[in-house]
Symmetry: C2
Subunit: 355 residues, 2 copies
Amino acid sequence: MDEHPLKQVGEFGLIDRIQTWFNEETSDLLGIGDDCTVIPRGDDEVELVTTDLLIEETHFLFDKITPEELGHKSLAVNLSDIAAMGGRPKHVWMSIGLTARADLPWLERFFTGMHDLAQRHGVRLLGGDTTKSQKHLVINIMVTGETTRSQVKLRSAARAGDIVFVTGTLGDSGGGLQLLLEDLHETGDPAEQKLIRAHNRPDAVVDGGIWLGKQAGVHALIDLSDGISSDAGHVANRSGVIIDIELADLPLSTELRQVAQKRGWDPVQLACSAGEDYALMGTCDAGGWDSLQKSYKEEIGYDLHAVGVVRNRNDTEQQPSPGPRRLTEGGEVRFLKNGKPFDLSGRGYDHFKSG
Amino acid sequence: MDEHPLKQVGEFGLIDRIQTWFNEETSDLLGIGDDCTVIPRGDDEVELVTTDLLIEETHFLFDKITPEELGHKSLAVNLSDIAAMGGRPKHVWMSIGLTARADLPWLERFFTGMHDLAQRHGVRLLGGDTTKSQKHLVINIMVTGETTRSQVKLRSAARAGDIVFVTGTLGDSGGGLQLLLEDLHETGDPAEQKLIRAHNRPDAVVDGGIWLGKQAGVHALIDLSDGISSDAGHVANRSGVIIDIELADLPLSTELRQVAQKRGWDPVQLACSAGEDYALMGTCDAGGWDSLQKSYKEEIGYDLHAVGVVRNRNDTEQQPSPGPRRLTEGGEVRFLKNGKPFDLSGRGYDHFKSG
């Protein structure tokens, strides 16, 4: 149905091309391709910069998200990118293209949602651009953050032998989206409402990201925006490693299990491929895992969940997975189910390939 | 015809509201409202940040601008904001929402236009976001730049007695837009082609802005994006002064005069109100004007044009203009024609009030 000419290239292919066109000299910093740009500031400090564009009909449906939720979510997805580098978010710029439906009362509610989240994390809105849009509401948010050279967490830092972990349950947001798309969002089922809330008002793991940034035993870090299937691929590729994910270990909420059973969905598929969970996925020294998990629970108040291991590309103790190899340029993600290779045909969300 | 609910508030009213909602504590920097946000970096350095959102049908017509021109213009309008603070542009982030019509060959041409301009001024594209847009092409550009506390030029710095000057001819872009809107862009008239080029491929006054930033005698600076009628109002308001503009002194190109005569347009109206010229308007010590003008010509290669003077609000030697007072909160712009008060009914472009 969708004849978008960029369908065959995909977002990640397009990012590669942009990188080729523009990236002349980036020896002093990380350019396009990680969650944030990393710019040196002084001897040890680095500035993090991230930007996300949200467009009505592509990223949200105007009638299926409240203004407060959209304001919250627009900022949260950017805070999540800063968290994914182990950084502390600091400043926000917002451009908004307003349609006729986004009137002043709507806008005030939108700002309330964004403002509440900004205040909670001590970030400040410093500027932006407001304009009119004829057809679809457009929101572009840019967030800067800060950390140090030694603490910044890159996608390229995963090492063979690392434990792969995630900071929260997966698939809730994907389940919520499914309910919205199937017009099942007014059932009053509390489990379903929780999934919709996970989709429309995701929480960025801001404090968790700052804390994980400070742990030397944590190597790679990324946020799960496109689904672990796709996002683990970025880490595997950038690090030049194999990542084995054990499907039985993916943390699923009670609510997702309930709703999936009721609706006949595969919750593991949603957890792997639906995206927009905005949990963080990291890799850490296997030797430090128990201590990391314990301290995270004490300091941040949530569980870390081990979901896989990082292996050398030359490591042959594991059978190759029977499905098509994924993201084979520099690394590979393999799925196991109870220790056995498993063909996961689902894919992470790619804006140009889906829909 | 346009029933946009924000029409009555206008872009500037909306910016005021956003400022109220967000600007809790900006003692250490300039928040929303100038051409850029100004963030202190170290003892004397400051970082400048600006962002502009361009949406198809609101800011450009896909079929009436080449991809190279649109790539150039998207960056140029942001470089102009950095220039308007007296700063040097440094880094660029771009988000783009691509429609089906913006295919890969289109995109490569778009990037070529942007890249050529970026290279000419030594700025680097460091990141961004690419996504799909169902209906209209969306481009958000963010540019950072640098200068020092002592050299940053604010809208609020105009002083009574200053000369008001502009860095180039006015109204060409407005004439070009008029030709495009009236479908008169394929006439082959070289004068008309020059106006269209001024609209589709404006030059930001980058070197001029950096040079003016270094001159202590230059006080306020702004770029003419909405038309001098509106933009001089921002300076008058922020500085709490009256700005008198002499219409006979506005620099008009030979081409604009020719085309205006041929088409029956008022070139002065276009120069005052059409906007998108991206010349800079500044104010400077009257005593240093001759020397400033001479040095600018020598160093930058272009003329500065004196177009008015800054007066105290209490200054009563001048008759009030017969037209409606404009932007009366903190300052006022008055128009003179050969020294006599003149009612200029046209207004600067405001995205929510026009169209």
